[in-house]
Structure formats: structure tokens, C-alpha cells
């Protein structure tokens, strides 16, 4: 009997081991393919700024600082006051979203202030991307938000204050709660038909 239970135990151990081996996680498979990324490599590439703003860098700026940089680097495409040109319109349009001709700008439409920082940082100005330092990006973000009447000219934007800026159209999106987005049930969507 003891012998049998020993055998049984051995059998169980072997079975479990075989199962482990058969289901070796992919981390252990495909040896020698790819390599560990270093913290320096990740830091150099990780430019994303999410809505919590936890990735925002040190630095700060106001609309007053931003006005000068805007005139030099942005006005040529977006117009002297953000009214648009060959580049998109950045200012105005509030109250038009329910009209026959809605004007969608950063001020009237964009739901998150952090997105303004992220986009300037990754994509602006065209042809000189990567040339702006964080203080300049905070200042430009402040200038655009100020021109839209969202913050005051003297308000200082930095890693703490920027994510707290409430955008006028934040609740204009469906579903409003970000955590409900992946949930088809809560979205009330039919595939391809989400009015």
C-alpha cells in the first residue's frame, strides 16, 4: 500500500512536471531571440504623456512665456492668434458643437490638456520636431489654453497643474468614463455602427 502511494506520488509529480514543461511560458521559449532593454534605452524612447500626467517632466511655463515662442515657431502655420492657416485652427469654436457647422479646436473639443503637451512634444513644430524643451512646451500649452479662455495668462503650468486643467468638452465623449471604453456592453455598440 505504501509502495502504491509512493508510486502514485511519483506519478503525480511526473505528470505535473510534464504539464509544466509542455506549458512552458513564452518567456522561457524562443531562447536567444531578442534581448533585455536597458533603462537608458527605455528612458530615451518613452515620450508618452498619459492623462494622469505622471510622465510629465520637470519644468514650467505661462501663457506670457508661450506667446513669444508661439509667434516665432507656430504662428506661421496656425495663424498669429491660433485662428488656423495651413495648420489647424487651435482657438475658438466654443458653443458650436451642436450647431450646423461645428468648429472643433483644442478649446472647443479636446478632452484632455495633457494631450496638448504630448502632441506638441512628439510632433511639433513640423520640420523641427524635438527642438522644444519642456519649459517651452509648458509655455506653449499655457498660451493655447489661455487663448481659449481655459486658464489665466499668469497661470503656471507644470507637471502638477497641467493634468488638473478641466477641458470644456471633457464630458462630450461616449462613454464618458475611460474605463468603460473597452466594454462593448457598456458602450451600447453594434459592430461598425456606433452612432
Amino acid at each position: 500500500m505504501r509502495c502504491f502511494s509512493k508510486l502514485l506520488a511519483l506519478f503525480i509529480v511526473l505528470t505535473v512536471c510534464a504539464a509544466c514543461w509542455a506549458q512552458a511560458p513564452n518567456s522561457d521559449r524562443y531562447k536567444g531571440v531578442g534581448r533585455a532593454a536597458t533603462p537608458e534605452e527605455i528612458k530615451a524612447w518613452d515620450i508618452s504623456i498619459g492623462i494622469s500626467g505622471k510622465e510629465l517632466p520637470p519644468g514650467s511655463g505661462t501663457a506670457m512665456d508661450g506667446a513669444k515662442i508661439y509667434a516665432m515657431k507656430c504662428a506661421v502655420c496656425h495663424g498669429p492668434g491660433g485662428e488656423g492657416g495651413i495648420g489647424s485652427r487651435l482657438v475658438g469654436g466654443e458653443g458650436t458643437l451642436t450647431s450646423a457647422k461645428p468648429v472643433k479646436t483644442i478649446g472647443s473639443y479636446w478632452p484632455f490638456a495633457t494631450t496638448v503637451y504630448d502632441f506638441i512634444n512628439r510632433a511639433m513644430p513640423t520640420g523641427q520636431r524635438g527642438s522644444l524643451v519642456p519649459a517651452e512646451i509648458y509655455a506653449l500649452t499655457a498660451f493655447i489654453l489661455y487663448k481659449n479662455g481655459i486658464i489665466k495668462e499668469s497661470d503656471v503650468l507644470d507637471a502638477k497643474s497641467l493634468p488638473k486643467v478641466q477641458m470644456p468638452n471633457r464630458n462630450g465623449f461616449i462613454p464618458v468614463r475611460v474605463e468603460d471604453i473597452p466594454d462593448i456592453q457598456k458602450r451600447g455598440c453594434q459592430i461598425g455602427n456606433c452612432p
Binding site: 518567456s27 532593454a37 451642436t98 473639443y109 479636446w110 504630448d118 510632433a123 465623449f173 459592430i191 452612432p195
Partner: protein, 433 residues
């Protein structure tokens, strides 16, 4: 000299020779002994050949902007009406980039060296990893047919709606922002599992290496389902315009998710809300609200032959042929109506029939020479049926006129497309007739 003109002249000159050749089959056998072989066809000039191969100089279809205009538009449209089967030739795959300077210079994608290019997977993972193209090619590969479609394909309203609504619109104008390829690469779940996804990861953020570094947030459920990191397209390397040396392929989702020139995937716990996903791609409604993160493309089909701009040569037999696709899976059924929607009959689906891929349908038709309206509607594996424009209007809570007069772009406009055949055989866009 214009090579096209030379081509026409030569064709006119040689036309009768060809016609005589074709007629041989119908000449009684008795007289065959007196026939001499037809003249040799002229060879292509060596100047028109290269070691990569070129199409015949008689074929001149190409990528075009909407309505053939040079005016700014979303991107460059694929001439669906000139294609057979389900594969879009790689040079004709539609092009749309998420940055103006790229969008307006379609032949100017980033010039990425595959030896230098890397894919970084990091964020909420146990082991941040770096992969080269060679690394990806060592891993188990899959090849799958999938379409990629812009969510604005077929939009009838807003600044770019007019040429799509025009009676002169071709299938390229109405549906040209979709393409289908055999994509080859590594399943994304394999790469993510190798990095060890942590429980708190609910989204991935995929980013390209191009100058403005377009990125898109995708729910982890989709990332761990059927997404691929691809390096092959229709048997060759992914073209620079399509993301060389590697792109993300998110089957069935609107094209913006299939990030080109892929260089970084970050596992995160919320969508990143970049400019495109939070402020450009949401669908705008009449009540001023917007639906963001519309993921899957709905069931859609279009007859490509006969279609807008084509000309029937006279009454008699024609095979009606077209494409159907759905982000919801495989196309189960396509029905065709030749009488303006009064009656519908099943079309035949041609192999290969793949999930989230263009599917070719054909339908035999005898044209009696009278006015007719041709249309197709498809049903996918989830029993979702392609809607009429009236169905979509009802869903949006608007009058159908809104699609003509509205100022807002309608995304995911997958309405049934009618083509009108005149008694003279000309084919026109009848979506708003």
C-alpha cells in the same frame, strides 16, 4: 513622346492583326492548311524592363486622391475596380499617414534601415525587451489575409463628401481607402508573453518611428487576441509606405490602429488619449457628443465590376463581381440585387474566404439593355447585415439628407452601394439618386 499615345497608336495599328488571330478558331478546319502563323507580337522594349518587373504599359490604373483631385484629402485611394481576386497589389495599397507632411508627400515615408530598427516592448511587463527585424524573423511566423481600412472610407459628408457622392464617382472614390494583403509576421501575444504582461496592464500603446511618432491605444484583450507584428506583405517586405520594416496589424479594427514603422509597444493601465484617438477619430453626432474608440469595421461590400465610370458594351451576359469584408469576422453571405433592391439573390463567394479579409463574390447577370440598379449586401459570421443608408440615418437619429448637407464627417459609413446602369450602358454612382 507620350508613351500612352504611342501605346494607343500601336494598338490601333495592330488591332486588326490580333482580331484576325482570334478569328482563326472559327474558320472551318478545311481552310486551316492554307493559314500561315500570325505575325509575332512585338516584344517589350528593354528600356521598359527591370529586374523587379513591371506591369504592361497598357495598364495605367494607379493610386489617386478622392475624385482624382490634387486637392487635400485623407490620403491615396486604391483602384478597387481594376483588381481581381482579393489581394491588393502592394504598390496600390491605399496610403494614409497621420501627419500632414507625410500625408501630402506619399512617397516620402521614413527611410528606416532594417539593421538599425528596433522594437521595444516595455511598461507593465516583467522583462522589457528589444527586438531586431532578424529577431522577429527567427520566431514562429504566421501568414494571414487581412484588410486594412480607414474609418473614413465611404464618408459622404463634410468637406470631402462631395466627390464621393458625385454621380461620376468610381469605386476608387467611394471605397478606395481599403486594401487587403497576405500579411506575414509574428503573433503579438507571443511577443507580449515573452515580455511577461503584468496583471495591471489593460491597454497597449503602439508607436511608430516616423517623425511625428503617431501612436494608438488598443485594449489588451485585442492585443492578446489576433494582432500581429508583420514584416511581410504579399510575399515581399512590407513597403516603406506601409510601415517598412515592420508594422502592427490589428485585424478588423479601423486602420489607424495598425501602426506603421512600429518601434515601441508600452503596456499601460489606461488609454493614452493621444491627439488622433481623443480628438480626431471620435465620431461626431448631431447632439454635439462624440463616440470615441470605435474599434471594429462593420460589414461592408461593393460591386467593383460593373461600377462607377465603367461602360457596358451592349446587352448580354456579364459576371457581376465585388468585394465584401467585415471587422466582425468571416463573410458568410453576399446577396446581389439587379432591380434596385426589390429582389435579392445569393452571390457565390470565391475562395479564399478568410476572417477579417476582403472576400470576392461573383454573380451571373444577363443585361437586357434596360436601365438597372445593381447593389450588394453582405452578412458576417455574427449575423451583422450591411445596412442601407436609411438604416444608418435611423441609427444616427437623422434624416437621410444629413449625409448630403451635414458638415461632419461620418465615420464607419458602411451603407449598401447602388450603381445605376443607363440604357446606354454607362455606370454611375446612385447612392443619392
Amino acid at each position: 513622346m507620350n508613351p500612352k499615345r504611342v501605346g494607343r497608336r500601336r494598338f490601333l495599328k495592330e488591332g486588326p492583326v490580333l482580331a484576325a488571330g482570334l478569328a482563326v478558331g472559327s474558320i472551318p478546319i478545311l481552310s486551316a492548311r492554307s493559314q500561315t502563323p500570325e505575325a509575332e507580337p512585338p516584344a517589350r522594349s528593354s528600356a521598359s524592363r527591370n529586374s523587379y518587373g513591371e506591369r504592361s504599359r497598357f495598364e495605367d490604373y494607379s493610386l489617386r486622391r478622392l475624385g482624382g483631385q490634387q486637392k487635400s484629402d485623407y490620403g491615396f485611394r486604391n483602384p478597387l475596380q481594376d483588381q481581381t481576386g482579393i489581394i491588393t497589389p502592394v504598390p496600390l495599397h491605399f496610403i494614409l499617414n497621420h501627419d500632414r507632411s507625410l500625408q501630402f508627400l506619399p512617397n516620402d515615408p521614413p527611410d528606416l534601415d532594417p539593421k538599425q530598427h528596433r522594437l521595444l516592448i516595455h511598461g507593465l511587463v516583467d522583462r522589457p525587451l528589444m527586438f531586431s527585424l532578424d529577431d522577429l524573423k527567427r520566431l514562429p511566423s504566421v501568414s494571414r489575409f487581412h484588410f486594412v481600412e480607414c474609418n473614413a472610407n465611404g464618408n459622404p459628408t463634410g468637406p470631402y463628401g462631395e466627390p464621393r457622392r458625385a454621380v461620376t464617382a468610381t469605386a476608387q472614390d467611394t471605397h478606395g481607402l481599403t486594401s487587403c494583403s497576405l500579411w506575414t509576421g509574428v503573433p503579438l501575444p507571443l511577443l507580449l508573453e515573452k515580455a511577461g504582461v503584468q496583471k495591471s496592464a489593460t491597454w497597449i500603446m503602439a508607436e511608430g518611428a516616423e517623425a511625428p511618432k503617431h501612436f494608438k491605444s488598443i485594449p489588451i484583450g485585442k492585443a492578446m487576441d489576433d494582432c500581429l507584428v508583420v514584416y511581410g506583405q504579399n510575399g515581399e517586405a512590407v513597403r516603406p509606405e506601409q510601415g517598412y520594416p515592420m508594422r502592427l496589424l490589428v485585424p478588423g479594427y479601423e486602420g489607424i490602429n495598425s501602426v506603421k514603422w512600429l518601434r515601441r509597444i508600452k503596456l499601460v493601465d489606461e488609454p493614452y488619449m493621444g491627439r488622433s484617438e481623443s480628438s480626431i477619430y471620435p465620431s461626431f453626432r448631431v447632439d454635439g457628443k462624440s463616440r470615441w474608440f470605435q474599434f471594429e469595421i462593420g460589414p461592408k461590400s461593393v460591386i467593383t465590376r460593373p461600377s462607377g465610370g465603367q461602360q457596358l458594351s451592349g446587352p448580354g451576359f456579364y459576371e457581376i463581381s465585388g468585394l465584401a469584408w467585415s471587422g466582425g469576422g468571416v463573410i458568410r453571405r453576399v446577396e446581389v440585387s439587379t432591380d434596385g433592391g426589390r429582389t435579392w439573390k445569393d452571390a457565390q463567394l470565391q475562395d479564399p474566404i478568410a476572417r477579417k479579409a476582403h472576400t470576392r463574390f461573383v454573380f451571373p447577370w444577363e443585361w437586357n439593355g434596360e436601365e438597372a440598379t445593381l447593389q450588394s449586401r453582405c452578412t458576417d459570421e455574427r449575423n451583422m447585415v450591411q445596412p442601407t443608408k436609411e438604416d444608418i440615418a435611423k441609427l444616427f437619429g437623422v434624416n437621410v439628407d444629413y449625409f448630403v448637407t451635414g458638415a461632419n464627417q461620418i465615420n464607419h459609413f458602411n451603407a449598401i452601394q447602388p450603381w445605376k446602369i443607363s440604357s446606354g450602358g454607362s455606370v454611375t454612382n446612385a447612392l443619392f439618386l
